[in-house]
Symmetry: C2
Subunit: 251 residues, 2 copies
Amino acid sequence: MRALKARLPNESFVYLGDTARLPYGTKSADTVTRYAVQASRLLMKHDIKLLVVACNTASAAALPTLTQTLAPLPVVGVIEPGAEAAVATVPDGPIAVIATEGTVKGGAYVRAIQQRSPRMPVVQQACPLFVALAEEGLRDGPITELAAHRYLDPLLATFPHPRGLVLGCTHFPVLKQTIAKVAGPDIVLIDSAETTAVAVEKILKEKSLLNGGEAKAPRFLATDAPGRFAHLGEIFLGEPIDPGSVTLVDL
Amino acid sequence: MRALKARLPNESFVYLGDTARLPYGTKSADTVTRYAVQASRLLMKHDIKLLVVACNTASAAALPTLTQTLAPLPVVGVIEPGAEAAVATVPDGPIAVIATEGTVKGGAYVRAIQQRSPRMPVVQQACPLFVALAEEGLRDGPITELAAHRYLDPLLATFPHPRGLVLGCTHFPVLKQTIAKVAGPDIVLIDSAETTAVAVEKILKEKSLLNGGEAKAPRFLATDAPGRFAHLGEIFLGEPIDPGSVTLVDL
């Protein structure tokens, strides 16, 4: 949403956080798909013109189901734009992907990257502690650094050495500085936020759906504790969120 | 369940893990109560004779509601037995409590301890990373040790120095060795598992509900991914769980 707001300042946003059931990254594809369908049904009631699945785990597990269920509404996930960015950034590879357990297990990034570049070497690593560290706001410091070593050292020891590292979970950009420090200067960090915003802009243009007027204030929906949502949301959005602007919803 | 099985070897157990919506520790009391009521309604269908709320967060948030909703079924939480154990172990205090965000915020341990010992000094600390560390099986090592320092050092710096440390989350006993090492030899670790088993035995005796015959094999129910449940469950139960013995259920 941060990248989308920056690229599409005239668009109005409705953001739903399923805070009562997060995290999705350790859950099965079936459960994540069920939750994602419920979440998008609720968003449909808010007259959205396009849905961004701003969660790598949900994109990896549920995109085909969501696209089918919500048709003709355009649905954009973050895996394809992330793979696009990876191949554009380091066309000769190799590419390393860090993500949640669920995203790694499903192999969606490997497929999306190799669809664009069939012989591209891709290595993956699940980083479950990163989610907890980001949620606690531990952007840097010794605990986060040790956790980064735990996950990245095996990736960095692979041969040939990865040149690009995909941040395959929307929580990981919060830890970007520490991840970059541990990964070292020879590796480029790749975040799907920018390329997702580009993909959304392209679709809105193609379908003549761009908003001509001014954006309305963002609406925030959460399935649990609006105060906590606002507090944590600020870390990700990079701007204040008024707890009064967050509506509690039930899926 | 490990402590209950050891103390009550003739009893049969039905264990439900709400793996599709865990962790509860970061969620609001309202949401945790709603989930706990749904979980216990499902367990009622399995002809249980007593319910143990084997989660500190759910005990702290939902015990009065569960007791009322399920009456006359006896309902045992883990907070009261934990407070009982704390006051019995270090009657002169002070007592420190480590728990989830939700349990700390609700203050249930402080109330339960001071009900037994009104002038007892109690300090609390939420340890959100501990849950992720236990779920990843990181019982010891540098990351867990640093996390323990992060949470325990401020507690240990309080004056007068705590003499007892309540492990106020069912995940924390997995990290017991590291917690003990960081807490140092002057502090006794207090776990509610044993005293909960004692409380359950007492109620079963009083109500003449003890099982005379042999125990049936435990039944495991999970709201997500039976394989993952079995794998993680073994860490907590300390014995193998056959993934085939885990039934997927929907709340």
